[in-house]
Amino acid sequence: MNGVSLEEILSRVSTLPTLPEAARYVIATIDDETANADSLVDRLNTDPIVVARILAAANSSAFALRSRIDSMRQAILVLGLKEIRSITLATAVIDRLNLGSGAFDPRILWRHSLGVAVCARAIAEDLRYNPEAAFTAGLLHDIGQMLLFAAVPELFEEALRRCRELDEPIVESEQAVFGFDHAVVGAELVRHWRLPTEIADGIGGHHDPEGGHFGEMADLIHVAEVLSHALDLGKLPDNRVPAVSSLACARLGIDWADFSPRMADIEAAYDEILLALNLH
């Protein structure tokens, strides 16, 4: 181990750009039934970069609309509030948090994270959990890797190298190099950003849902990540299905044979969001 503590990593949080206001608003209103199209438009229109990206996504071939979308109101009318909220969150986060070099390619990270987000949303819809909260936790589940890279790039690249050369899970490589892993770092980071506890717990427990105190969201993100790997979403070069917690599956009531009819729908939804965000 190298002697860098979790506290030191978290003290370097300023090396990461802050979460964009548009993304914060979407996350803050996940459970707010009074949040409507007008309030979203008013908030988003204050950030021209986010508006431009959302309009580019709405006009992409993902939606193949006949007429051109040139305002946020029109985009919401045509694509629906939920779709716009997902696109807003994804574009705002991915645009802002795109650090990387050498062995760490942020596009690979975000393609994987979107795969987990899409799986989490589908599982949440099936189990009647909040699909937007699940999508958000899925999108941010590996955000700890971004902070590790931003704070101590050489050490994080060492963990990546070890993971590749020994063909071991990234959490084991991180444990060997740092003594802790990206799930712990990510959970602390989103707590620092004052995001909902449910999302922090989902991120913190996604590799160890049997740790006992993380709750249903950790089970859900764990299962979503496993499914994303199993469906090969993102076609990661060294893709490997991680350990699957039988306890988490049982607690959620997931039966993979019953769930398999949803797999084609998940692949189609993933294809659509990559097209919309130009991440193909």
Partner: protein, 142 residues
Amino acid sequence: MANLLGWRRMGRNGICAPLFLVPPGATEVMAEWQHAMKTRSFYLPLGRLLPGMIAAADILGKQGEKLLPADCILDEPQIERLRRRAIRSVLVKLPDERDDETIRRETEAAERRLAHIFRGAGSDARADLYRAVAAYRRKQLA
């Protein structure tokens, strides 16, 4: 007569979709084409649907209500209506020109990839997931 304008390669699977110019009253021709050719079914996101494609199953709304019946030929207004109903993807029939040898090669490649990504030991839940994904891939490629 529906004019075949060409073929468009699309999606991660490299599947080809027919590009038709569909004149009014071409339903019978499309149905004939559907019977004459071997087809396979794919879920496509709405943005990849093209007028002239054929629904492989009933298209259901969020509450399970039937929006369009199986075997209907999709046109632009219908696709637009599906978008307004927040439908994300549709199961469509597409021509399948693969011979048995191609299907065998594709199935073997998919099985190899699946074995690779499931390498190493794991729990019963992991083994269940492997079986479910393997069954899904076999059905997808058949």
